[in-house]
Each structure stands twice: as C-alpha cells, then as structure tokens.
Amino acid sequence: MFLVKCPWCGWRDQTEFSYGGEAHIARPLEPGQISDQEWGDYIYTRTNTKGIHAERWVHTQACGRWFNALRHTVTDVMWDSYKMGEDAPTPPKDWDGLTCCDDHKKLAEGAKK
C-alpha cells in the first residue's frame, strides 16, 4: 500500500484513492473527422510505461478531486502530483524511482545546513 500525494490533502494512504489510468489523453475534438484506427487508439491503446508514468488519480474518499501524478512503475514510488491543467513536474534526470520529491527537498535543505 503505497502513499499517494493529493495536491490538496497531502500524502495519504493509496486505499483512499482511485486510479484513473494514463494521463494527458485528450478526447479528440472532432471524432467524426478521425479514422477508426485513431479512435481505437484513443480508447484502447496505452503507453503502459515501465518507468516514469504520468497517470491520473482521484481522492475518492476525501476531497474527491482528480489530479495527475508521476509514479515510477518499477518501484511504485510517486515522485509528485500536479493539478489538472498544470505542467508535469520534472524529476532529476537520474531519478531511479527510489525517492519522492519531498525526500529530495529534505536532502536539499539538509545540504544547506
């Protein structure tokens, strides 16, 4: 049971949330104008990333709001979450999926001291 970071309620138990699949898949604006293949890809085809995955979650049992998050699908560690419409955060190039954004902040502060 990993933790999920709700942009409003903070890090909370995964069981409070529902998973919403891959993020940033916009509904075609004019479905009438696209091919069966393009429409099929929109409904069914997914990147299914092994590594850093942009995905949607909703805090079902608390605030009920949808948001996006980056999670490493090899370790299930969530890097950070971001509100709908916001740009995805950028983890460090060398992120191995073993630490989350807040750990990094702490380390950075530690370094300052």
Binding site: M1, F2, Q14, T15, S18, Y19, G21, D36, Q37, W39, G40, D41, I43, Y44, T45, R46, T47, N48, T49, K50, H53, E55, R71, T73, V74, T75, D76
Partner: protein, 414 residues
C-alpha cells in the same frame, strides 16, 4: 532425450542418480535462427516446441531475460478451465484443455494435470443469470458444463458455508477443469523442445530489434545480435516494453496480480472453487497448501508486488465461504505482472512490423491456455497467417470494435 519412467528411476537409483542427463542444454546463441521466440515462459516454450514438432522448424531460439518460467508461468494459481462465454474464447481455451489432457504423455514429463473439477459459485440473481448464460453457451460449444444446486455444491464442497453474506444460490461446474504443476509445464516443454534442437537461451535480455524496410531481420540482446527470419514475442507483462522497441504501442496495460498459499494440510479442498460476487478462488495443491487468489491491484506496475489490502480483500471472502480456515496460516504471498486488454481477451496478432508476431494480453488467465496458445501461435508464425482459432484475437479488433468481451457479462450494473 532419455525417457522418464519409474523404470528409469529404478535404474538410476542403482547408480545413485549420478547418470541423469541435463533436461536441456544451455547453448550460446547462434548468429541466425529461422524463428526467434522472445520470452521463455510456458507460452514461448510451447510455441517453440510446436514449431519444431509440428511445423518442421527446428532452427529456433527461445530467449529469456531471466530464468525459464520465471514470469507468470511460475507465479500463477495453476488453474485450467475452458468455460468461457464467447465462442471464440471457448474454441481457444478448449483447444488448450484438449492438449492438456495428453500433455504429460506428449512431453514425457509429468505436468500433473489434475481434472479435479472447477466450480463457479453464484451468489445472487445476477450471478445466476450470468452462469445460466455462460453454462448454456459452453454447452452449445460442445464443452462440458453442469449446473449445481446449493445442495449439490455442499455435497461437492462439504466445508462451504452456503449461507454466507451472499448466500450460494447455485454453481456452474466444469469437471474437465482443474489444476496443473506450473513449473513442470515450462520445464517439460523446454526439455522436449531442446531435444528437437531448439536453443533455449536464459539470462539473455532483448535490447532492440534490427528492422529493415518494415521487416524484422534480427534481435539485439545482452548476448549480442541474433539474426531472425521471424520473431514471435511472448513477453506477457513486458509486451508493451518490447513493442516500444519495435516502434509501436499495444492496447495493453500491466497490472499487479497477487496470490498466496497457506501452510500445507491434509486434503480438505478437492476441486477448484471460484466466486464472482466475492472475488476469491481457492484450490489445494498436491503438497497440501491452499492456493488462493483474487482480483488484481487497480494501477499499472512492473514491481511484481501489489498492495497488502488486496490480500485482505481476498482473505475476507475466503473466511466467509470457509470459516473453518480462520486458524489456518498464510505461508507465502507473491505478485506477478499481468498484461491486460480492455476486453480481457488475449492478443495473437501480426504487427506493423513484417514477420514479427505478438502473443500477449492473457491477463490473469494465461496459464490455462499455455498449450493451445503455443500451438496456434506456432502454426501462425510458420504459415505467416494467423491460425483460424487465433484469428479473432488479432489486434485490429480494437479498431473495428469486434471485441471479445469476457469482462462484459460478468461485471455490469444491475
């Protein structure tokens, strides 16, 4: 290949079992194969076996990034059945069951296929309608299928608590269903394929493909490039990753699925019992362990583990149906990566890359199909055209909409 038998064991006992030969070689990759199979699980090894056995193609390599049968083959709950709703599925899975029935003999390796019966429980009116439809559909496909009354269920499973939170209203029984020894399937196919000249190459990970003018020419691996006339990808949970190397995407998502076993006990559960309304299924292995599984975690993951609350959501129902197991202990839990399609049916297909074939999307139901999947996939690769049983499962169904929706009937509003 020296024959296995009780006599062979007796003979070898005299020489202290020091003269058994290797079950399979571990060769270095050759520069080129007629067919390279990516994925050394049950499906991949079965494909190689039938290519060699029935299609006369023996210049075949199976490359596996880890150890044989280390993926879902070695992580499932070993259930075999063919009581599927749609005609296409029934044809495919029953083809597999028929092969299972002769498999130990065919491979001269005891895969312990045990047709101890598989029982689906119905707990409410909707369940009854669902098994009513599926039972009839299976029957019309010429597959064995019986409806049981609650009393008959109790007779078959005396320890069951019929009057649980969702009282048992009936059951659908497939007597030809059951279990098999999962590792043995991989090992048996490996040994038999190896004996016909198939190279089984473990610890060899695919890193890319050589594709020229849309045609696959070879495979890049951690053990060098390997030329290939044709490539069959049977990479289960990692299919999307392999597809990405070949430059296309699949209608797949990889979800964790967990299972666990109890401590071994004397025989107490004789058949396989599944329950739709309360997601849990249970059987007892020959070693005496209760083998228990349920539904998977809801998020994609390659971590080969899931969340503990999923385990709780299976243990609860098990105790509701079998309260006597309250003091029995969970011995070991594990997780696998299941490659799931939206219609819960597999994908056996040609791909945008010529001579490259994919066999994936088996989700939580792959083990039972192992021989059938390998058999029709081998013929498809050999012929360059999908085998009639495999054809309906090709990828273009996600564009035409001709899904084979095994998920539909079971889980819908009421």
């Amino acid at each position: 290949m020296k024959k296995y038998s009780i006599f062979a064991i007796a003979r070898n006992a005299r020489t202290h079992h020091e003269n058994w030969e290797r079950a399979w070689r571990s060769p270095d990759p050759k520069p080129h194969y007629d067919v390279v199979i990516i994925g050394g699980g049950g499906h991949g090894l079965a494909t190689a076996y039938y290519l060699a056995k029935e299609c006369g193609i023996t210049n075949v390599a199976v490359i596996e990034k880890g150890w044989l049968g280390g993926g879902n083959t070695g992580r499932n709950t070993t259930i075999v059945r063919s009581n599927y709703l749609w005609d296409e599925s029934a044809a495919l899975y029953d083809h597999a069951v028929r092969l299972w029935e002769g498999l130990s003999d065919e491979l001269n390796y005891n895969v312990m296929f045990s047709q101890r019966g598989l029982l689906h429980l119905a707990h409410n009116v909707h369940d009854m309608q669902e098994i009513g439809r599926r039972g009839n559909s299976i029957y019309m496909n010429g597959i064995d299928s019986e409806f049981l009354s609650p009393e008959q269920v109790k007779e078959m499973v005396p320890i069951i608590n019929l009057n649980c939170r969702y009282p048992v209203m009936g059951g659908l029984l497939q007597r030809r269903g059951g279990t098999a020894r999962h590792d043995a399937v991989a090992w048996g196919y490996a040994r038999a394929a190896d004996a016909m000249g198939v190279d089984i190459i473990q610890n060899c990970e695919v890193t890319g493909f050589k594709i020229e003018g849309g045609v696959v020419k070879g495979v890049e691996t951690t053990r060098g490039s390997i030329g290939a006339g044709k490539v069959g990808v049977v990479a289960a949970g990692h299919s999307s990753v392999v597809a990405e190397m070949a430059g296309f995407r699949m209608p797949l998502e990889s979800f964790p699925l967990q299972a666990f076993v109890s401590e071994p006990m004397k025989p107490i559960v004789d058949c396989v019992i599944m329950s739709n309304a309360i997601h849990a299924y249970i059987s007892q292995s020959d070693k005496g362990e209760l083998v228990i599984g349920g539904s998977g975690d809801p998020y994609i993951s390659y971590s080969q583990r899931g969340s503990f609350d999923q385990i709780e959501h299976v243990v609860g129902p098990v105790l509701e149906l079998y309260p006597i197991f309250s003091r029995v202990r969970m011995l070991r839990q594990w997780g696998g990566i299941t490659d799931v399609t939206v219609d819960r049916s597999p994908i056996m297909t040609k791909t945008p890359v010529e001579n490259m074939f994919f066999n994936c999307g088996w989700g939580t139901g792959g083990f039972k199909a192992t021989p059938g999947s390998g058999h029709v996939f081998a013929h498809s690769i050999a012929k360059g055209e999908m085998h009639p049983v495999a054809a309906p499962f090709s990828m273009d169904r996600f564009h035409t909409g001709a899904l084979i929706d095994e998920a539909a009937a079971a889980a819908v509003a009421h």
